[in-house]
């Protein structure tokens, strides 16, 4: 990543409330094309909520999300997809009764990729789904469903990709492999935000991390520096470890 690249996504003072609970409480960060940004933080710190707001599942209650310089807060998901944002889900959400090939076909047909979308064959081969292409998605194991979720997103050729715990539940060999794939995607200029609990994985692939606590960023920078921060240690491990 070139440090002076203009950010493709800018999140500023984002607020999202559920009743009286502030899931996001003034969160700000940005991500540049080709950059892999990690979002880390304890459970309930707002990582997934942030992704849900950016991908249009929830409308923000305050603050601003801008993509390519235009405000996108509150736009419908399919419009954001057409604009170049896509995501995977923590629990993969494939179209269970459709075959793997049909799952991808829907996204290829309706994603309105701005540049030529990847080919079906390419996606099936690169994400190890060739063997199961004609099977219903319900037959896949959880790692394969995650890959299907990812290929569904990639078929729309996003410029900003949000990965919500893609690595959880993968074995070490699969982790290495998917880390390589994510880096290769970033190398094509795609901005990628990774939400993950596996710190080794975060360390391996991200350029920069944002540490969240209670819906706000408390640290921004390299993961190695984050783990030396008193406040970060406090929210992860509890006050007595921070001494």
């Amino acid at each position: 990543m070139s440090p002076d690249a203009r950010p493709v996504l800018n999140v500023s003072k984002l607020v999202k409330r559920f009743g009286g609970f502030h899931a996001l409480d003034g969160l700000s960060f940005h991500v540049a094309p080709g950059e892999i940004l990690g979002l880390v933080g304890p459970n309930g710190s707002g990582k997934t909520t942030a992704i849900n707001v950016i991908s249009g599942l929830y409308a923000p209650d305050g603050g601003e999300v801008s993509f390519d310089g235009g405000s996108i807060g509150g736009l419908a998901s399919h419009k954001l997809v057409h604009g170049g944002i896509n995501r995977t889900f923590q629990v993969p959400k494939p179209f269970l009764s459709l075959t793997v090939r049909q799952n991808i076909q829907v996204a290829l047909a309706y994603g309105r990729a701005r540049s030529a979308p990847p080919s079906m064959a390419e996606l099936l081969d690169e994400y190890r789904l060739r063997e199961v292409a004609e099977r219903p998605a319900a037959d896949l194991n959880s790692a394969q469903q995650k890959m299907l979720d990812l290929t569904r997103a990639l078929a729309t050729r996003p410029r900003l990709l949000l990965l919500d715990e893609l690595a959880a539940g993968l074995n070490p060999a699969e982790l290495d492999w998917i880390a390589g794939r994510i880096k290769a995607l970033a190398a094509t200029g795609m901005a990628i935000i990774v939400v993950e609990h596996l710190m080794g994985f975060i360390e391996q692939i991200t350029d920069r991390v944002i540490v969240l606590n209670a819906g706000k960023e408390i640290f921004e920078g390299k993961l190695a520096a984050a783990v030396r921060q008193r406040e970060v240690i406090e929210v992860f491990l509890g006050g007595e470890h921070a001494a």
Binding site: H78, V81, A107, Y110, D149
Partner: protein, 306 residues
């Protein structure tokens, strides 16, 4: 041969030809007409339930509204029957538009709200205060347009149109996107599908089909009461036939109508007690062992069913 053409040549065409020649060799034309009407309604249910997952318990609302759309056009504007049938379809679509907020509901909530809506339409039309327009509860008599032969072929045309629509859904990216919405609306939007718009199109298409069928039914029978054309049996039969054969396929609802409505007519009138017994057992067996319908006997074995 592309699949869409195959489905047209081997499913749609034989079905339409069968019912086009049947009146020449079989005397009970009313029965044939009812078969065609139920084929249309079962495919209409297939469009909305099979492809989008909304179970329309009040599907008869569109049918009855179509029948009264026909009646009003003929009684008050003296239009030709064909124009009145088209008006029946339009009334179905308008009612569909009015009911689009129901699509915010899902599952049983949608089914019940839709049932309630159809009853509301029935009682609106059957209201004595509207006697000047709909003849209220006293029924309509449309002897001027009575022409069962033309009405039968009009029904056949609507059947061809409806099955053609399902062939399209089965073979197009549009139909695939509808099924994606049915499976997971959030993921579908992340595939770039405009979920609200897709649901609405399927909903209005199935309303159109039922409205046209209702208009043609009014044309065929020419004398009817609100309770006849809003009878819950239309909804229930159409749903059971579609489910029995297997939804989200072209052949499933057709098989369902031919088999179940066939059995109904074979034993339903002479020995109704056996009919109810057999029907009950069939439906129980189906729900327990073949929840995806008859066609799943084949698809389970990996055979392709159109």
């Amino acid at each position: 041969m592309p699949d869409a053409l195959k489905h047209t040549v081997f499913v749609l065409a034989p079905l339409v030809v069968l019912f086009a020649v049947a009146p020449g060799v079989y005397q009970n034309h009313l029965l044939l007409f009812n078969f065609v009407i139920f084929l249309i309604l079962a495919q209409g249910v297939n469009i909305i339930y099979g492809f989008t997952g909304y179970l329309p318990f009040g599907y008869v609302g569109f049918f009855g509204a179509g029948a009264y759309g026909f009646a009003v056009m003929v009684m008050h504007l003296q239009t030709p029957a064909i124009v009145a049938v088209l008006a029946g379809g339009l009334v179905g679509v308008l009612l569909g538009l009015l009911l689009t907020p129901l699509l915010r509901l899902s599952g049983a909530y949608f089914a019940i709200a839709n049932l309630a809506a159809s009853l509301a339409v029935l009682h609106l039309i059957a209201n004595p205060a509207l006697e000047g327009i709909t003849k209220g509860p006293y029924g309509v008599s449309l002897t001027g347009t009575f022409n069962p032969t033309d009405a039968y072929y009009a029904a056949l045309a609507v059947l061809a149109l409806t099955v053609g629509g399902v062939v399209y859904l089965k073979n197009s990216a549009f139909g695939l996107a509808l099924q994606a919405v049915r499976e997971d609306a959030v993921s579908a939007s992340m595939a770039g599908v405009n979920v609200v718009k897709m649901r609405m199109i399927a909903w209005l298409a199935s309303a159109l089909v039922a409205g046209l069928a209702g208009g043609i039914y009014a044309w065929y029978v020419s004398v009817f009461y609100p309770d006849n054309v809003f009878s819950g049996e239309f909804s229930i039969f159409a749903i059971v036939f579609a489910l029995f054969g297997g939804v989200a396929t072209i052949a499933g609802p057709i098989l369902g109508v031919l088999i179940l409505y066939g059995i109904y007519n074979l034993i339903g009138f002479t020995t109704p007690q056996y009919f109810q017994l057999i029907y009950g057992l069939l439906i129980m067996g189906l729900v327990l062992f073949l929840p995806a319908g008859l066609v799943s006997l084949a698809t389970r074995r990996g055979w392709h069913v159109p």
